[in-house]
Point group: C2
Chain length 594, copies 2
Amino acid sequence: MSEGTESAALAELAKRRGFFFGSSEAYGGVGGFYTYGPQGAALKSNVEEAWRERFAVQEGNLEIEAPTIMPEPVFEASGHLDGFDDMLVECAECGESHRADHLIEDNSDLEDAETLSLEEAAEEIADLGLVCPNCGADLAGQSVESFNLMFETNIGPGSKTPGYLRPETAQGIFVEFPRIKEYARNRLPFGVTQIGRAYRNEISPRKNIVRTREFTQAELEHFIDPERDEADLSAVEDVEVLLYPATEQEKEDGEYIETTIGEAVDEGIIANAWIGYFLGIAQEWYEDVGVDMDRFRFRQHLAGERAHYSADCWDAESEVDGDWIEIAGFSYRSDYDLSKHGEYGDDDFTVFQQYDEPKTVERAVVDPDMATLGPEFGAQAADVADALEALAERDPDAFDADEVTLDIDGEEVTVDTDVANFSVETQTEAGEHITPHVVEPSFGVDRTVYTLLAHAYETDEVDGEARTFLSLSPSVAPTNVGVFPLVSNVEELVDLADDVAEELRAAGFAVVYDDSGSIGRRYRRQDEVGTPFCITIDRDGMEGDGEDTVTIRERDSGQQVRLPVDDLVQTLVGLRAGTTSFDDVLDENEIVEA
Amino acid sequence: MSEGTESAALAELAKRRGFFFGSSEAYGGVGGFYTYGPQGAALKSNVEEAWRERFAVQEGNLEIEAPTIMPEPVFEASGHLDGFDDMLVECAECGESHRADHLIEDNSDLEDAETLSLEEAAEEIADLGLVCPNCGADLAGQSVESFNLMFETNIGPGSKTPGYLRPETAQGIFVEFPRIKEYARNRLPFGVTQIGRAYRNEISPRKNIVRTREFTQAELEHFIDPERDEADLSAVEDVEVLLYPATEQEKEDGEYIETTIGEAVDEGIIANAWIGYFLGIAQEWYEDVGVDMDRFRFRQHLAGERAHYSADCWDAESEVDGDWIEIAGFSYRSDYDLSKHGEYGDDDFTVFQQYDEPKTVERAVVDPDMATLGPEFGAQAADVADALEALAERDPDAFDADEVTLDIDGEEVTVDTDVANFSVETQTEAGEHITPHVVEPSFGVDRTVYTLLAHAYETDEVDGEARTFLSLSPSVAPTNVGVFPLVSNVEELVDLADDVAEELRAAGFAVVYDDSGSIGRRYRRQDEVGTPFCITIDRDGMEGDGEDTVTIRERDSGQQVRLPVDDLVQTLVGLRAGTTSFDDVLDENEIVEA
């Protein structure tokens, strides 16, 4: 399809059939907020469940659920209060707000306008002669300002306690690390996951569920001791991936690299083995839930894109309408997050790591003689003692002299070395407190849902009639199976259809029962919402004595087989899990000619 | 346990074992926000899933997912902007805010202080001589003010577009009714559900997860045509309930009524059959998930508690520490919500209901002669025509006179009746547009979780040692089953334990594998988080050739049986679903003496 067409056709289908649509349209709507209808809510919930199964359950990680509103000190520590900004330029004429960097990028060859300073951006706007996309007024001379992307509110009456809607679920994990480490019995490495809403007050949200102001993240914070915990790549080393490293992006004719996780880590293309591990399981997970792997890549962040503390960072990207969309980020965040909270917060964000064998260390210590310091320094005596202790740790050689000079609240004081009772002691240490490093795979759930829909959207022709269908993976499709009695006026046939629907529901399948209209129309209706299999109960199959058969039709091919009712559950379990293909089912049963 | 003890002991366990704890404590915490640890998040998620299964899937309802931030016009329509207030009194001394009605109720015999006017509340505070609970300063003379409980924020830059965190998930359903009715093929009755966060900026939140500022609701909006759709009570008429109707609450010695849903509806104790239907399925659901039904009641709202538009309203209440906690509300909301949005919003909030047979109606109509009105009234001519039309509908008899008098923008004008071309026409109507009524079961998920924990919290003594255990229902317990190799140094035993754990996980069970410490300690650890069954793999069971056996222990009784590995999945499926009791398992297998 040509550019833009895919997303336009998808948006129409999404609204008409209940996947997603702009919220509060009866009140004119407001940009950046979407509501999932019944199909979309089910698809999204299945994607979340699949993520949970892979990244929480199978990995043996801990899942938590934290509030979306957090108090200001959390974001002082995390850096969001100061640094989580976009560039805003307002039109003096119509008052509309725009993202300055997007305006510049859309109208020049610049690709990283967000790295400009505010002044540079304003100059660039003037130089390019940019006008307001809303009213056409000249934007030259308008100042460019920082706009913090967090939604602010007040907790309780008044404005004494500002709170913010979390810009990422991760902070809810970092802040509670001192408690969560106990649940992990203080043993690194361990992972903590959270699936939940996050919020970014985008200046000008784009018109679909890719860049919204409220969205769902699925995040995993994997805490490791960088000295002791090595990633085990055995499960993913042979996974094939398409990589777009920073070095290739910087070349004129840079190319993708087709390789395996094992090789990419060996060759240093992926700088960190933990990142490699998570790229590997993500690659397989995306394939399982139905991302078209011909329209998928891992792109490494350029040095300029990366946060200063991040040693390596890759995005998972999917292609829709010719654009690459970031659908997940994999970042080595070092000890940045826990160090910050350790510094700002009043709790212990470290983990005690036992040495394999106790270590003997020499330590410079003092034991100040307070009977001398007290009379000499009065109220300052305790501070002097503390300063002696600090000096011993910092510069033990200073105690070789007869006197040491200390800085007490800006005042210089001199103390006889004797008074300090300086010595070097030999101590045995069982271990050390370390601040864990964090490896963070962070998934955008809405963007994943959008990618699945866009990649599943297909059209063809059946019996000379145009057909639209969603080739969603059976593992995440909103409805697993449609159950249709061919006619609704034959009692035993309807009874069997009821029984089949009930049995499938009891086995945990999402079932749609439909007895309205022609069978072709019923198939079409399910095709359009991506139901992978439809079962039709017809007269031909009414054998009685538990020997009844029904037909099962596969969505994409339209092929049908007849199979015994007793085989249904087992067959569908295999089809949903991907352990059985429909070709297997075709091989083992009587094919029905359409 | 004595009053208060239960919740204090529970809070300690909840924090230590990862059910829930106050958020952001490293930053001093902020009242009304709680984080669910791994156990709590799993329990909550299981409760939500059980609710979804019963109230969405089994009822055939549509589930949606809407944003938590909504724009101001939504809440102008819903009435929350003007009316969603609590009474605030601030201490002049220390600046602390208090809920005036709670202060009054806590210090007097008044039970419904929230019905007082602001002035009356201030007087009452002065009369009672109330002091600030924080600093002891006199509160007499302080004004009592309205405080809106919605969290406010701004959407996009500046303050042009105020937004609010939804105070209930319901508005996300009502606002999108025009679209959702299409998904329901415009056929009443239908239900729409949503599980999600809601927010209330409580003035002084209580210290546990019962009254928080951010919480999860599970709401069902059931849309009906009150003239045509009758509740079918056949599935619930025999369900036994404990009711506390308004009439009994108003008596000096009012009593609970033990009855069935069928009788209560017949006798008018429950005024509306739809409410009766939902109370019936709620009663059964609460029992399934593990609420102690001896500490559970349905309490009818007193006339003063009810919104003016609500014909009948009942709360489900659970008892904890001697207090009754509202854990769900069942309200007949009439057409209030959809009418309001129909009035304020720019969309159609009605459903077209076809008559069984087309109706013939007489309708007074006019066909004003614009050739006469135009010259006579100029720019007002169209308004005059509209006024004639309105008058014909309102008061057709007025056209019997020679002249009619109209009010045009406050000005009285007189028009010859002839000009109106008045007539009474006979029209055939196929149906009518009606605004559906809403029956709303609204569940507090956090309060349900809290009730389950409080009702499950038990202590006893095993082998002379005190034991704490949570007798959570197997249907919602965070972990379904513990798997323990008795010793960890016998390879075939560990291999079998691994196989058992893997098989159970593949069958969809949440499994904890534990090979650390004594078997008694492992049992205790699982008892404390409510794991209903533990499987121990020991030497006695190593028969080989697929004949291996293991022991399975039930949490509450501590009883154990030995059963074949091959029976495990089926047995546990039955135990979790409640179709098999542990007594059945005891009957059919070899009992192991502890």
